[in-house]
């Protein structure tokens, strides 16, 4: 069964290829069959391989397809590597990806670019699978850039709007900045190890470097740069809110569930390097905690449904980075998985709402949808509960609680991280339920065109179930002590060591977390249901803060003045190429000399005579002088 591993990325790729070649000629039904079917098959194979893999004693499985490049010891192969970590990722990618494909067959059914949409989506799934299955960093970089391309294409999917194109370009360029750092990291790794094969690097690294080695630290920082770009972490986070220009299924798949977590995958995959570079690892945590706070505040002020979710995604990935930073590897991956479920759910449900309200994005123009769209309301509510970490019944509670706890009690954790995570948790539940209350409660303001169909609601229900029940595979010590997930990951990612004597305090932390998230919900209730006028007063009294947060802490503006404008200015003033001026001057000089000599050729006979006479005198004088 495991030998079928190569089919997992190949199936969606073949789907994309078929759609490129035949897409415009096929009927919509066939397009959906190819598009969703290929991903569905890949998901099926993934599950089968997972069963096989789980029952076998081996911890990993390699499959070499062919040698890509072989030059002077640089020998990256097109080879796949399956272990617990990559399995979690391919499961999420294929399974959530399949659900989103199914959803899209209804969501996009009236769109002109139906086949094009599925082409890109399949190509994305395939690239993302290569990214997580790659056994060497060059192939991972291949997937890394491939998902970047698909993200670009899908953000700019509705290309007739010029601003979508700009948003797509922004996303591509900003992630490319991170990729450049990552590429330099790869050069250094190759120089240090003579190979870019991930497993060899991971085994050799502790022999070459000691903890805190300069090489390890620099490389870890460079890899972190790549991760920051892809995962929209500070200071490269600005592209993600704009990326919401793409269709909602795209936001769900790429900009929530899978691609943006590639940075988390990269750091988890290269965890040995990060453990050897404590400074870099600490910065992973710092960046994560700063990002989750910043994005949390920004999410509070947004009124575009998808932008709230976008900031929320940035914030939740901040949690994952925080977990990575304190060495809680499996907690980060667990939160990734749960987040993929509930955030995909939220985006899909939000997409459905927007779709059914004739592309209305502003939550303050919605309201009262609870009764009109019950299926969407309930699934959205479940997703929100999970995002806000409503205690005990949601998956999000267990995954976030683990991070909260480990950010304090983990060996590398400290109070700073813990407080950041705690404030973030409070903000999360406030903005989440603000969104829920404003959108679904109150009075109806917009007409609903038609109820959502089955192909949209069924994926929502499945995801709602997953985001609730998937949490129960990893429960904290204080409740039931289930560790299925981290045991599964143990061969790949080491378990976290706790600070001494911390275990007994776990229930206190949990209690605080429970109180925090519930009070957040209550605050949202108080401000948006009970006394809605209070929220307007608050907004009016702190309009400056509001605008500052609303604009994402002014990062866009700062980058615009610091980088974009100078670059464009330099490019514009030099459009004619200053170096060409030099050659123009040369031409001018030649032209000037030409004029001078041409002027002596006056055509007046007596001038020539003067010339002859002067010349003769000069020659005679010179010959006399030289002669004597």
């Amino acid at each position: 069964m495991k030998e079928l591993l190569w089919l997992i990325p190949t199936l969606p790729f073949t789907g994309a290829l078929l759609l490129i070649l035949l897409g415009r000629k096929l009927p919509r039904f066939a397009v959906s069959l190819i598009g969703a079917g290929s991903v569905g098959l890949a998901a099926l194979i993934t599950i089968l391989i997972g069963i096989d893999f789980n029952s076998s004693s081996e911890n990993s499985f390699q499959q070499v397809l062919w040698t890509w490049i072989d030059v002077a010891g640089f020998k990256p192969q097109i080879a796949l590597h399956l272990d617990a970590l990559s399995f979690v990722f391919i499961f999420v990618i294929t399974f959530v990806g399949f659900l989103i494909h199914v959803y899209s067959t209804e969501f996009m059914q009236d769109d002109e670019g139906y086949a094009r949409f599925f082409t890109y989506l399949n190509l994305f799934v395939s690239s993302m699978l290569i990214l997580v299955l790659a056994d060497n960093l060059v192939l991972m970089y291949f997937g890394w850039e491939g998902v970047g391309l698909c993200s670009y294409l899908l953000i700019g999917f509705w290309y007739l709007e010029e601003k979508n194109g700009y948003a797509a370009r922004k996303a591509f360029i900003i992630t490319r900045i991170g990729d450049t750092a990552m590429a330099i990291g790869l050069f250094m790794l190759f120089k240090a190890f003579g190979t870019l094969h991930i497993q060899s690097i991971l085994t050799q690294a502790p022999q070459i470097w000691t903890v805190g080695s300069e090489g390890a630290v620099i490389i870890a920082f460079l890899l972190l740069g790549g991760a920051m770009g892809k995962s929209a972490q500070l200071p490269l986070q600005t592209w993600l809110p704009d990326a919401m220009a793409g269709p909602s299924p795209v936001s769900a798949l790429i900009h929530a569930a899978t691609m943006v977590t590639a940075g988390v995958y990269l750091i988890a995959r290269m965890h040995v390097v990060f453990e050897l570079a404590p400074l870099a690892q600490m910065w992973v945590g710092i960046i994560g905690s700063l990002t989750l706070l910043l994005a949390g505040f920004s999410a509070l002020t947004q009124f575009d449904l998808k932008r709230i979710l976008a900031y929320s995604t940035i914030s939740q990935i901040g949690y994952m980075f925080l977990a990575l930073g304190v060495g809680a590897w499996s907690a980060a991956i667990f939160h990734f998985m749960i987040h993929a479920f509930f955030k995909a759910l939220l985006f899909l449900a939000a997409g459905a709402v927007i779709h059914l309200l004739h592309h209305e994005h502003n939550i303050f123009k919605m309201g009262g949808l609870k009764n009109k769209l019950p299926a969407i309301y309930w699934t959205f509510f479940i997703g929100s509960a999970s995002l806000a970490a409503i205690p005990f019944v949601t998956g999000g509670f267990y995954s976030k609680d683990a991070i909260l706890w480990l950010s304090l009690a983990g060996e590398k954790g400290n109070v700073g991280f813990f407080l950041a995570a705690l404030i973030g948790a409070f903000l999360t539940s406030v903005y989440t339920f603000r969104m829920v209350f404003v959108t679904f409660f109150g009075t109806e303001k917009t007409h609903v065109s038609h109820p959502a169909g089955n192909r949209m609601t069924i994926p929502l229900i499945i995801l709602a179930a997953l985001s609730t029940f998937a949490g129960f595979i990893e429960l904290p010590h204080s409740i039931a002590h289930v560790e299925l997930f981290s045991d599964f990951l143990l061969p790949v990612l080491p378990a976290i060591t706790l600070q001494e004597g911390a275990e007994s305090k776990e229930w206190i932390v949990q209690l605080i977390a429970v109180v925090i998230s519930l009070s957040g919900v209550y605050m949202a209730y108080y401000f948006y249901i009970k006394k809605p006028e209070l929220s307007d007063q608050l907004k009016a009294s702190s309009i400056d803060f509001h605008n500052f947060w609303f604009s994402g802490w002014g990062f866009d503006k700062a980058y615009d003045t610091l980088f974009v404008k100078p670059f464009v200015f330099m490019a514009t003033i030099n459009k004619q190429d200053i170096i060409d001026k030099f050659y123009d001057e040369l031409v001018q000089l030649a032209d000037f000399l030409h004029r001078v000599f041409a002027w002596t050729q006056s055509g007046i006979l007596r001038w020539y005579m003067v010339g002859i006479v002067i010349g003769a005198i000069l020659i005679v004088t010179l010959s006399l002088l030289v002669g004597s």
Partner: protein, 516 residues
Amino acid sequence: MILLWFIIILMAGGILAWIAEKWNADLSRWISFLALSINFVIAVMIWSQHDFISIEPNSVWIADYAVNWIPVFGISFHLAMDGLSLLMLILTFFLGMLSVLTSWKEIQFKVGFFHFNLLWVLAGITGVFLTMDLFLFYFFWEVMLIPMYFLIGIWGHENRRYAAYKFFIFTQASGLLMLLAILGIYFIHGNVTGTYTFDYFQLLNTPFEPGMARWLMLGFLVAFIVKLPVVPFHTWLPDAHSQAPTAGSLILAGLLLKTGAYGILRFVIPLFPDAAHDISKWAMLFGVIGILYGALLAFSQTDLKRLVAYTSVSHMGFVLLGVFAFNELALQGVIMQMITHGISTGALFILAGSVYERIHTRDITQMGGYWKKAPFMGFIAIVFVMASLGLPGLGNFVAEFLILVGAWNSTHILTILATTGLVGATAYSLRIMQRVFYGTEIKSNHAFEDLSLREKLMMVPLVLVIVWLGFFPQPILNTSKIPVMNVIEAQSNTRKENVALEKLNTNEVLKGDNHE
């Protein structure tokens, strides 16, 4: 003998095509296409039949042909082909076929003479890639220059005269410096050994005084870096590229620039290993400046062909960086870059030509939203735009990545700067997509049709080749392995000798000390 046929077929084809115009203009197109495809098939057959991996390092020459030409001066008609030449020839004939196809509708004026010039440029390029006699090399260098001047000057766009003169003067002036250097080698070698010859192999191990070697090397280098082109000698390129007809831009970008890189690999480094090593840091610096400066300028252009032309400046910077990094990784990357750049930039020029045929402007501010009307064209454009920004899975990535990995061994700061060039590449490449294919269509009177069958016939092979090179670059890398090893050996041998000599000297000094 087969090598001679490559050139004869092209030259004879050119003359025939000129004559054939009297009866039928299409006949001369067909003759040119046929001549090029015969050459292409022969070259590909040689490539597929030759075993490049297991051959002895010394027997790198697949074919060799030499007859005396002007024996009094030691000039022979000496052609020889190794893996590097063969790859370049295949590229030449492939792009040559495309340039005939792309001119099918575009050129309607003096068709016969156009194809004569086209084939003679290609014959000159073929000669440059094959010749092993420096005098003959200079001869072919000029052969490819003059027909190109006519191609730009007669069939170019509105500002063609200026561009043609500029192209001619830049290349001619730098070529004269190379002629001086060739004569310099000729006389020095004659003085030292007593045999006056222009033969490459005999000149290879000429000993030079370091100062002299530097000047001679610079003479060669100037000719090649003007062709490549390297900032600050690049300014002929945007004018020539943007004013030339599509076929001309295709040949300029795809092939003429490669003769510069080829010349550095074939002549500069093997003939003057030490002098080349001495300037390597500077050369790499200029390579990086080219990458960044080209990217900046490409970003600011509004003329589509000019934009693509500046991307060439940027991409050729990688070539210079890689050549002077002197290691196998980088040099293999350079050869990949020569091929993939020829294909990707060639394709972008063909696209620009197709757009120009439809709307009669090259100004991207007047374009927009063509994806809707021409989705196939948009698809092709996205492939080559991505190739130009170095997306993995397409050939250019393999090339650039190898160059950068290799360059990291010799210089860290410059490699980092070169890598940031990838961000610049993203900015200018996506600008093409944004301006031409995204957004709403600007109203124009011209009907914008999707690619015709002929255009698809050009584009689909290009896409296949660039994807093939991205996934399976190994056949190319195997072919160029031995030539690359030879270049490196030429480098390291002399270095070793020098080091050995220095060691010997110091040993003697030490011994001398002991005796005292």
